[in-house]
């Protein structure tokens, strides 16, 4: 007979998890406080100086582009999800996972791909040239920013919404088919109710992503008229050396995110992009099929063309030059090591906070432990980076020498809300199903993790590692304040190549970055397969 361990009796159930969760939450909160104080101290110290920042214009511009991005991305997402749900063809699942990867595709690469297609010397220009015509359209400006955002966020929305449509029970589809519902009625009565609940939360995420978007606006903004807060902060620090202006902008961004975006994220849905649950296909009319094929073709062309352009241009003449350059291999090593460290830190923080949060009974304690994980929602990349920059500078250390630590920490904090959104619902489901059994068997926290939670969370753990790694790999916001000639990541190297008009080099780096991102996104999800059905 197993004798009771005195330690088990002395400690209440889940004690270790609660302590770990609370300690991590406290550490993150303390770090944010330090960064915030650093920002505020510059603000107070420099309050007498004058700044040229046009705050109302920046706020208006940022909010307008984010709102337009949200509406257009949701519309594109609904249309694409609908088309994918209706059509059955070989490669459908591969296409759906390509859309899922949009969330991690580096914005800088997508923007570059758009220029390769729609820019003056791009594919469209070449096509016009075949007929002796000149392409006068420009990809730079608000429409370019919107196009890049809709490509990324629309594809991501499509993947999330497709999960909802594929989860409509077969019995409901059969009833609808038996009743002879028209394609429009089918959409209104069956699809829309399945989608509607996800739209506010998904819209909030897209608004946040667009509001805090950095590389796309930096590359496609086309000048101060289309600048957003994030880019303005970068310009103030790196180009104008106007720290006071940067701090003012950072505070405005903080205030806006706290007051507007954080409450919106109350609606945040489960962003898990898991497999399909549909087990019945209701064939539809030829007209609806044609429409679905048209929508999917258009969406695929819009999404895939910039990616194909990046690969076609990148895997060309500039490739050998890049592959033989020492700077490229240095940047690759930095990107990979920071990406892996950041992914691991994201996973540990997400696990510690999520397990800790679920071990508390009080809703207030759960909220308090979970809250610091959502730092990014109120402190976006460039603001976080500015805080680190000022805090490190305040200690007398050269900011660049702290860069690896800052990049790992900042990127992990940026990926954390997404990791929590993946882990939270899965942990809740396990808790609901097995908590009482585990408790009645008096399983220790470790046993519970080893035998119950870890085997059931395989897919989520893989997804979190992939998200953490890819977010870090594509980051330009944090590195933009810390990057130097000696310390560069791949996106920073590419950005510098663009700035120096070495477009062949930039194209090759973009292609390699894209390949690396997609491989890194899919690899962990293949290794960490779902064991629930095993």
């Amino acid at each position: 007979m197993r004798s009771a361990n005195p330690a088990d009796l002395a400690l209440p159930f889940g004690f270790g998890r609660r302590v770990t969760g609370a300690a991590l939450a406290l550490a993150i909160a303390a770090l944010i406080l330090v960064l915030f104080t650093s920002i505020l101290s510059v603000s107070v110290a420099g309050s007498s100086a004058s700044s040229t920042v046009d705050l109302p214009h920046l706020l208006r511009m940022t909010a307008i582009q984010a709102a337009l991005t949200t509406v257009l991305s949701l519309a594109a997402g609904v249309a694409l999800a609908w088309a994918l749900n209706r059509l059955k063809f070989p490669g459908r699942d591969a296409l759906a996972s390509l859309f899922a990867a949009a969330i991690v595709a580096p914005g800088l690469v997508i923007a570059f791909g758009l220029i390769a297609v729609w820019g003056r010397a791009g594919w469209v220009g070449d096509f016009f040239g075949l007929f002796g015509l000149e392409w006068t359209g420009s990809i730079f400006g608000l429409h370019g920013i919107l196009a890049a955002h809709v490509i990324l966020d629309g594809a991501f929305a499509a993947r999330v919404l497709l999960t909802r449509l594929d989860a409509v029970p077969a019995s409901r589809l059969k009833i609808g088919q038996s009743l002879g519902l028209s394609p429009l009625k089918r959409f209104m009565l069956i699809d829309w109710p399945a989608l509607a609940g996800s739209l506010p939360g998904l819209g909030a995420i897209i608004f946040l992503l667009a509001f805090t978007s950095f590389p796309i606006v930096l590359l496609l903004g086309g000048g101060p008229a289309n600048q957003t807060l994030e880019v303005a902060i970068y310009s103030a620090v790196r180009l104008n050396f106007d720290l006071e202006g940067a701090v003012l902008l950072a505070l405005a961004q903080l205030a806006f995110c706290t007051l507007v975006i954080a409450p919106m994220l109350y609606f945040t849905p489960d962003i898990s992009v898991g497999g399909s649950t549909a087990d019945y296909h209701w064939p539809q009319t030829t007209g609806a099929n044609t429409l679905a094929i048209g929508v999917l073709g258009l969406g695929l062309a819009g999404f895939a063309m910039p990616l194909v352009a990046v690969l076609a241009n990148g895997l060309g003449p500039g490739l050998s030059n890049v592959l033989t350059s020492e700077a490229f291999w240095d940047a690759t090593w930095v990107s990979l090591s920071i990406g892996m460290s950041s992914a691991l830190l994201t996973l540990l923080l997400a696990l510690g906070l999520s397990l800790g949060r679920s071990a508390f009974n009080s809703p207030f304690a759960r909220l308090t432990v979970g809250l610091p994980a959502y730092t990014y929602l109120i402190v976006p990349a460039v603001v976080l980076s500015l805080g680190f920059f000022l805090a490190v500078r305040g200690t007398g250390v050269r900011p660049q020498s702290a860069a690896p630590f800052v990049l790992i920490t900042a990127n992990a904090l940026l990926a954390l809300p997404f990791a929590m959104a993946v882990l939270g619902p899965a942990l809740n489901a396990i808790d609901k199903r097995y908590a009482r059994t585990a408790q009645s068997l008096a399983l220790s926290g470790w046993q519970r993790w080893r035998y119950v939670e870890m085997p059931l969370l395989h897919r989520e753990l893989g997804l979190i590692l992939a998200l953490g790694f890819c977010f870090s790999l594509g980051d330009l916001g944090t590195i933009s304040l810390f990057g130097t000639n000696e310390f560069a990541t791949l996106p920073w190297l590419m950005f510098r190549a663009l700035g120096a008009y070495r477009s062949n080099d930039a194209a090759a780096i973009a292609a390699l970055l894209l390949i690396l991102t997609f491989v890194a996104f899919w690899l962990p999800t293949l290794v960490f397969k779902d064991k629930r059905d095993a």
């Binding site: 019995s171 059969k174 088919q177 038996s178 009565l189 069956i190």
Partner: protein
């Protein structure tokens, strides 16, 4: 008479196909029982047209049903769940069972009558989420009445109901089948359904039906 003759069907990877032969007379209730995964719901899918057999025939009064898509078959089907659209009122759910172009006055009259028949008068304005499990199944039966289809398929319709409500529903199905001359096929694992409801019962085993 609903007549299935050697209706064969196999899912991908199945070595042996299902082979169904069964007849159902008007006003008769035939029950099909069997273990989970034995193919009971597949049988209903084949009658309703959700799946296409590889061979065999499905006829109603000599009319071949196989060329018809599900929406054109003279068949109504009821599942354990999800028969109704939760965000619509009871009346709107029922109206979906009426022919296109029914006038509003006729629609109201037909819905009122159908609700009366299933013992839910004045429920038209209710939202589906306000109904109990038994009431939902009654509303679904009311829609079946409105559709006026002679073949009624019931897929574990009482499995989620308490004993008393399930018993009431059995009586209602029996009464409506007799009155409307439905050819009713019910798939169930409840022994009460076989004892109380069925005129004939079949056991589905080894991919085919054997009279119990």
């Amino acid at each position: 008479m609903l007549d299935l003759k050697n209706v064969r069907f196999a899912y991908k990877g199945m070595e042996h196909p299902y082979d169904f032969t069964v007849q159902v007379q008007p006003g008769e209730i035939v029950l099909v029982a069997g273990r989970s995964g034995s193919g009971k719901s597949t049988l209903l899918d084949l009658i309703a047209g959700f799946r296409t057999p590889t061979s065999g025939s499905v006829r109603l009064d000599e009319k071949d049903l196989l060329p018809l898509p599900p929406e054109e078959r003279p068949v109504s089907i009821l599942f354990q769940n999800d028969n109704l659209f939760d965000h619509l009122s009871v009346a709107r759910n029922l109206a979906l069972g009426l022919p296109r172009g029914t006038s509003p006055a006729d629609e109201t009259a037909a819905i009122t009558e159908a609700l009366d028949q299933v013992g839910l008068p004045h429920y038209g304005d209710r939202i589906v989420t306000q109904l109990s499990g038994g009431q939902k199944q009654r509303v679904a039966l009311a829609r079946t009445l409105l559709r006026e289809k002679p073949v009624v398929l019931l897929d574990e319709p009482f499995a989620n109901l308490d004993a008393e409500t399930a018993e009431e529903m059995r009586q209602l199905v029996k009464q409506l089948t007799n009155k409307q001359n439905w050819h009713t096929v019910i798939v169930s694992h409840l022994s009460e359904d076989a004892e109380v409801l069925a005129d004939r019962a079949y056991w589905l085993e080894n991919y085919s039906l054997a009279e119990a």
